[in-house]
């Protein structure tokens, strides 16, 4: 028999195993192809040119995607080679050289890979339009999209594919050359890490795992308060939770199951024999991949929830930073032109004038350990603000409310009351800032920390403040559009009539900009999250498939002993729930704590987007569980 015939024959024989591998390959190739098609799509390229952020985001995501694809393919290949180890051993036993075996395996993989490349690209072409439409919808872009076929995407995909083939070939060569005949014959039915009697050490390690996770969670709650140490605390949290998660999988679970088993005193029963016992033994060996899966899940959930929250609350967040649709400072002429142009266009609006004082002053802390800080302030009158349409309550005389929509992100000390001192002509030279609000009273583009005082205090300050080169008496003119449908026309009028050197933006264009940026963010996060989810789910599925094959003789024995398929399935379902729900559950809890930290970044509520993202994640995971259970069912049914 020639080598060629042998390759074809063995492929035909292994078609069932290949089919799994084949899908894994098609799946990664088509996702990468879709991504690079989008990256090279004219509509998206146009946006990218406007903003460096867009282009960078796509590039970073592309690299991440390649990385995930490679890890995933290596994983699938590894499982695949192990499943065929007896066959590889047999070839060597009958005297074929390792080089020959490696060559045959690489040939098989390459043939398969080429098929997967072709199908993957076809699938990619079909689905890329769907993703493109989704993207256009997300960032609310008004362009027509045709079915685009990007040559650049094809080239990129082929390049990644060649990388994949090179890596898997290397993997095959290493596996074949490193393994001895004996190992090859045992690889299939070996229980890598057989837990006999967990020692005290493992009990301690198990507890350590739990406490590390708990510690990480605890520290994460501190981040909210100590935003100045953000980076260090974040690293600490990551290190401690990831180590904790690893120990949890490696020892804690086995240990808990061992204690449970011990209490059963040998009378374990069928269902536990099929769930608790195999889990206890396999957990240790799966610790690496389970930690990876849990961490990736937690990251993906956090990423999706955060970007979805940003996207979801773009309008509210922008409104908090920019309470007025348009605002100008000391620009009466421009304001008049804008008014008349708006009237020409028959856009209705509310117009108001506001007085303000800008001055240099000092934050005087009540806590002697914190240094006083010099800053520039803007003070507004609450009565005037209320007239201009903002929902504000005037503070007591000589008191002020501090408004800043970015305080928490900037890591400022936010314990109030404290004082603001300024140079005055008499003894009344300070304001007591009684509280602070996480929003602005004036669009954020104007320089100075915003303070709101009562009209009376405002008048007094105007009289007694010492005038120097830093003190300015300002007039703001604010416009609030009553007709939001013409926002874009109004925005154009505004932009063309203010000096572009001044970097003055209006609500609508800022909102539009954020909306597109967050739209891109949610798209990329969603895409990567989807890939994470499918890869981690597939890895778990592959592992369970292998385990099902290995345990096939157990099921045969059980059927011979007279247990029905349904009884056996009950035990298996219990095991699968553990296998999928443990990483998912821990991932969700990790994500919940991460999001708790992330909530600092966002003023608006994140609850709805978080619940939606988590629910989507859970549903897809459960789908994997169902598919796995069905696979087990076919194994058990055909075991006898």
């Amino acid at each position: 028999m020639t080598t060629q015939k042998l390759v074809i024959r063995s492929m035909r024989k292994n078609i069932k195993m290949y089919y799994l591998y084949f899908f894994a390959m098609i799946f990664s190739i088509s996702l990468y192809f879709i991504f690079s098609t989008l990256q090279n799509d004219q509509a998206i390229v146009n946006i990218s040119e406007d903003s460096i952020n867009f282009a960078t985001a796509f590039q970073v995501a592309g690299i991440l995607l390649i990385f995930i694809t490679i890890v995933f393919t290596m994983y699938a290949t590894n499982i695949f080679i192990r499943r065929r180890s007896q066959e590889i051993g047999l070839y060597q036993l009958i005297g074929l050289s390792k080089a020959w075996v490696a060559r045959v395996l690489i040939a098989e993989h390459s043939i398969l890979g080429l098929g997967a490349l072709l199908i993957g690209m076809i699938v990619g072409v079909l689905f890329s339009r769907l993703f493109l439409l989704l993207f256009i919808k997300l960032i609310d872009l008004e362009v027509m999209v045709g079915l685009t076929f990007s040559t650049q995407a094809v080239i990129q995909t082929i390049a990644v594919f060649i990388c994949l083939i090179a890596i898997t070939s290397l993997q095959i060569i290493l596996t074949v050359y490193r393994s001895t005949l004996l190992q090859l014959f045992q690889a299939n039915n070996k229980n890598d890490h057989f837990v006999k009697q967990p020692s005290i050490v493992s009990g301690i390690l198990g507890l350590t795992g739990l406490s590390l996770i708990g510690f990480g969670y605890y520290v994460s709650t501190l981040i909210v308060v100590h935003a100045d140490l953000l980076l260090y605390l974040m690293l600490l949290v990551l290190a401690s939770t990831i180590t904790g998660t690893y120990l949890f999988f490696r020892t804690t679970i086995s240990w808990i199951l061992y204690v449970f088993r011990k209490r059963k005193n040998g009378n374990l029963g069928l269902y536990n024999s099929l769930s608790v016992a195999p889990l206890m033994h396999s957990m240790k060996g799966h610790a690496n991949s389970l930690t990876l899966i849990t961490t990736l899940s937690a990251m993906a959930i956090t990423m999706i929830s955060l970007s979805y929250s940003l996207y979801y609350s773009t309008e509210d967040d922008t409104r908090l930073a920019m309470p007025f649709d348009f605002a100008v400072e000391n620009m009466q002429e421009e304001a008049a032109i804008i008014s008349s142009r708006l009237e020409e266009e028959q856009i209705e609006f509310d117009y108001h004038q506001l007085d303000a004082i800008r001055f240099d002053g000092t934050w005087v802390e009540k806590n002697p350990n914190i240094d006083n800080r010099h800053s520039t302030f803007m003070v507004f009158s609450a009565e005037q603000m209320a007239k201009a349409g903002l929902d504000v309550e005037p503070p007591q005389d000589d008191e002020a409310i501090y408004y800043n929509s970015r305080t928490v992100i900037e890591g400022r000390e936010i314990s109030f009351p404290k004082d603001v001192q300024y140079a005055a002509n008499d003894a009344e030279n300070q304001l007591t800032v009684s509280k602070f609000k996480l929003e602005n009273v004036m669009n954020y583009l104007f320089y100075g920390e915003q303070l709101l005082v009562s009209e009376e205090t405002f008048e007094r300050m105007r009289d007694n403040i010492q005038e120097d080169e830093h003190t300015e008496f300002l007039t703001f003119e604010t416009f609030q559009l009553l007709d939001t449908e013409k926002s874009d026309t109004a925005s154009d009028i505004f932009q063309t009539n203010v000096d572009s050197d001044e970097y003055i933006s209006d609500f609508y264009s800022t909102y539009k900009g954020s909306f597109q940026a967050f739209g891109l963010l949610i798209f990329i996060a969603g895409f990567l999250g989807f890939v994470f989810l499918l890869s981690t789910g597939s890895i778990l599925y592959f592992k369970q498939m292998t385990e099902a094959e290995q345990e096939k003789n157990h099921y045969r024995t059980l059927r011979q002993l007279g247990f029905q398929v349904n009884d056996i399935m009950k035990g298996i379902i219990r095991k699968q729930l553990f296998v999928y729900l443990i990483p998912l559950g821990i991932g969700l809890i990790h994500a919940a704590f991460a999001l708790n930290v992330g909530s600092v970044l966002m003023a608006a509520s994140m609850l709805t987007p978080i619940i939606i993202s988590m629910a989507a994640y859970i549903v897809i995971y459960l789908m994997f569980t169902v598919v796995t259970i069905r696979y087990y069912k076919s194994i058990v049914t055909n075991a006898l």
């Binding site: 229980n191 006999k196 009378n267 024999s273 016992a277 003789n553 157990h554 024995t557 002993l561």
Partner: protein, 257 residues
């Protein structure tokens, strides 16, 4: 013999046939077997390779279905039963000892042995007592918390035997139980089986190609080409002389194994 004939029939087979393959190309493995096993008997089934020993055992044990013929276990006619009903019969009435033990390597010795008791109404305390009794007889009580990978072949097979006996089945099927054991472990196990057969009145049907193993039985059935060729009863003979009879019969049958 008279005692046995008055005893209850545990298993009876009439005209059992089994063929494999499609109609045009059918391979007849069992050619009409009639067999009756009485309560308390220890029956050996011998015969050369390809004579249908294992097929007969699997068919009698409801693991495989006969193409034709009737099999009655404990009064239940099994030919027309559904798979789930067959499972129930196996679980309640039958015990199994396999050549390669078929222990679950994720379970300890004790957990393996108590497996058949699960899904039954036997209480934990009762199961514990039963385990102690059987493990005592088979000398594996000390191994209770060991895993199959930690014990010897002989110990594994005794564990497997304990698992076959724990739920007090009416009938135990043993398929080449000594096939993978050295001679000392083999005679050890056979002594155990013999003792259990005598003291607990457990009915055992054992397929073997080893004349020494079948010399522990009180009846040996010889198969050839899918039919029963002959039967030998031990009666009052010593095991040694029964062993010689079996060897003689094998010589007549030809083909040793």
């Amino acid at each position: 013999m008279t005692i046995q004939q008055t005893a209850n029939t545990v298993l009876s087979a009439e005209g059992v046939r089994k063929s494999y393959g499609s109609k045009g190309n059918a391979q007849q493995v069992l050619n009409g077997i009639d067999l009756r096993v009485f309560e308390g008997e220890f029956v050996g089934i011998m015969g050369p390779s390809g004579s249908g020993k294992t097929t007969l055992l699997n068919t009698l044990a409801t693991i495989d279905r006969a193409t034709d013929g009737n099999i009655v276990i404990n009064g239940n006619e099994i030919s027309n039963l559904k798979d789930n009903q067959l499972s129930n019969i196996r679980r309640r009435h039958l015990g199994f000892i396999f050549q390669d033990y078929n222990l679950l390597d994720t379970l300890t010795v004790k957990e393996n042995i108590l497996l058949p008791v699960s899904l039954t109404k036997i209480s934990t305390a009762q199961a514990e007592t039963e385990f102690n009794t059987i493990a005592e007889i088979l000398g594996i009580k000390e191994l209770a918390n060991k895993y199959p990978s930690e014990i010897s072949g002989g110990q594994k097979q005794r564990t497997s035997a304990a698992r076959a006996l724990i739920h007090s089945p009416s009938l135990v099927f043993a398929d080449e139980p000594t096939g993978a054991l050295d001679s000392k472990a083999a005679s050890n196990l056979l002594e155990n089986l013999h003792e259990i057969n005598q003291t607990r009145q457990v009915t055992i049907v054992m397929v073997t190609h080893d004349p020494l193993a079948s010399s522990y039985c009180n009846r040996v059935v010889f198969l050839k080409d899918g039919t029963i060729f002959s039967e030998l009863y031990r009666g009052e003979k010593t095991r040694e002389s029964f062993f010689k009879d079996i060897l003689d019969m094998q010589a007549v049958l030809g083909g040793g194994n």
